[in-house]
Symmetry: C2
Subunit: 334 residues, 2 copies
DNA sequence: AATCCAATGATCGACGCTTTCATATCTCGA
DNA sequence: TCGAGATATGAAAGCGTCGATCATTGGATT
């Protein structure tokens, strides 16, 4: 049992192959009568044009590759969802290419693999070192854009980015304004240089002329937030923490609670991302809301523009906003 | 600037086009010296075979389509990750095709779109009505498998499934054994028939000869769990709740807390899925652990077997296990 | 040294679709 | 009524790759 091809349709409709093609693509007028015959044949046979042949003939694909790290993380999954929605709208399919580590072999393998297929363009999720490496290895002839958090490493490529540096500074200032003498930071893994969130936190502390506590490094696992929180809990001087993301914030809060320090009475905690569960926490988490789905829409829009006009669009900046909930308050002594 | 083609490589290496093809595919012996020249040319030009031409010529793709609902939900995202890992291992790319609703138009569009590309096979995430509908519309010539939770609607297609019915019954019995007089259930959206989780819950209650409270219907949004929890909180007779998933459980627990009922002292709550954050809750959530990543591996294995041997593999059953943490305990009066 | 048999390289179509290009048909104004 | 222009349609030529068929070379055999 094989799928029907265009010749089968042509035969069934009693027309030539190109005529069928013209009806399907609607570029050239076809008489109403033949058009009807063709459409009827298409429906009857359940014909679906062969994408491989199609992209071979018009030397352009209708798929876009998304290079991403672990797709189960909230920010990644949401951004991909946004890209997929926008792509589907525009008639493109999304191919996921996971790049787990930034080493050359892994990156090359992923790119080779993806670009072995007929791709119209690529979106790189430049949220981690692997993304940065992938971006650096993109072949020049492939239209590509990047979604980033806090600026891109590659100025030649247009990108949509969350201004996390600005937002982190804002969140830090908010804590400072509440009366906290300083703010600690538990950082997510960096993209090679320091994460924009860390940079913004540092900016705010510097501008306020406040001492900078040492950065606590965590990985993507919420449990590493727990470990960081446990360390923080032992230091009575800690009254405010900016977490690199909500998962980490949750781990931190749990550790704090387990060590007898209450949130927000003893310690204020601010997260990052506005994870769907963060508002259901006790207390509800104050966090920096990131609209990743919209970021996905935007970055795909950039790519689409590039695909249609041929030249790159200027980058798009998105500003996350602070959502104040129950996990932050004035320090005891203020 | 255009990507190099095989003819460019042949010219650069001073050999014929088929020779390059043979070096690349390694089917027929080629002299060591020419082979070296070809490989050098490939590397230098950055040549990558055109997938469209390739799949057209050998009429088989190296991509597999995954039909899924909203990809940001934990179970979906994790399963897709598992599929992607296994597929990458085996040299396949994963194409995401989101089917948002079960209506014919949406399903047809998604399938048309995906199958327009050269697909080797398809995996359907049969976790919701949209998945069921997608499965029903799969063309017969495409090798397809399904990942399901609690049995598949289609006996002709091999599937890997979590035995949620069994697991839900087990979890319910666990609560009953703790001394609760009955167990309430907040259900996730069903797949057309009732969800396996609901069925298992009902099994356990029936077998125990215990009255079945009315089912509370929720959707995928954690906030709908909150609403359900608020309703439950008003009924003093409620001492145990089996939630359709962890997100819902979190919402329920929050509502319970907001209404002055403590967990687990007043009400025991059991979740489903073992979401990464559920152990960091206060109290840590007792839940039914589902290894979705492994489910993804398994279901891809099924597809791969089918692709290689041509005939379908028997279905694979996976048994989730109950993880007892802090959100459950004996009822006050027991 | 002549013949035959590997071993290896080159030529020649598919594959399914799009896209010139040429042809048949038709319309309309002079 | 006839020719020019417009228009629908068909024939043919790729798109980049792979597989089968042919042609060639070198060496081994007698």
């Amino acid at each position: 049992m094989k799928p029907p091809v265009i010749a089968d349709v042509a035969r069934a409709a009693g027309v030539s192959v190109p005529t069928v093609s013209r009806v399907l693509n609607g570029t050239v007028p076809v008489s109403a009568e033949r058009r009807a015959r063709v459409l009827a044949a298409v429906r009857e046979l359940g014909f679906r044009p062969n994408g491989a042949a199609r992209s071979l003939a018009q030397r352009t694909g209708s798929m876009i590759a998304v290079f991403s790290g672990n797709t189960t993380r909230y920010g990644y999954a949401s951004t991909i969802q946004g890209i997929e929605e926008a792509a589907r709208q525009a008639g493109y399919m999304v191919v996921i290419s996971v790049v787990e580590t930034p080493d050359a072999t892994t990156v090359e393998r992923a790119i080779d693999h993806a670009l072995g297929q007929p791709m119209a363009g690529a979106v790189v999720l430049e949220f981690d070192p692997a993304g940065v490496a992938a971006l650096a290895s993109m072949p020049p002839w492939l239209p590509a854009v990047a979604a980033a958090s806090g600026g891109s490493s590659d100025a030649d490529i247009s990108h949509a980015y969350m201004d996390d540096r600005y937002a982190a500074a804002q969140a830090t200032r908010y804590l400072l304004d509440l009366g906290h003498s300083t703010v600690h930071h538990v950082a997510i893994p960096s993209t090679g240089t320091e994460s924009a969130r860390l940079l913004g936190w540092r900016d705010a502390l510097r501008d306020a002329g406040v001492p900078q506590p040492p950065v606590i490094r965590a990985d993507w696992d919420p449990m590493s937030g727990y470990d960081a929180g446990a360390a923080l809990a032992k230091d009575a001087g800690v009254t405010a923490v900016l977490a690199g993301n909500d998962e980490l914030a949750v781990g931190i809060m749990k550790a704090l609670a387990d060590h007898g320090r209450s949130v927000p009475a003893d310690v204020s905690v601010v997260g990052f991302d506005d994870h769907p569960l963060s508002q259901l926490w006790s207390p509800p988490l104050t966090t920096v809301r990131q609209d990743f789905v919209k970021l996905g829409h935007q970055v795909f829009g950039l790519l689409l523009g590039q695909l249609e006009t041929g030249d790159a669009r200027p980058s798009v900046r998105m500003i996350p906003d602070l959502v104040v909930r129950g996990s932050t308050g004035r320090p005891r002594t203020a």
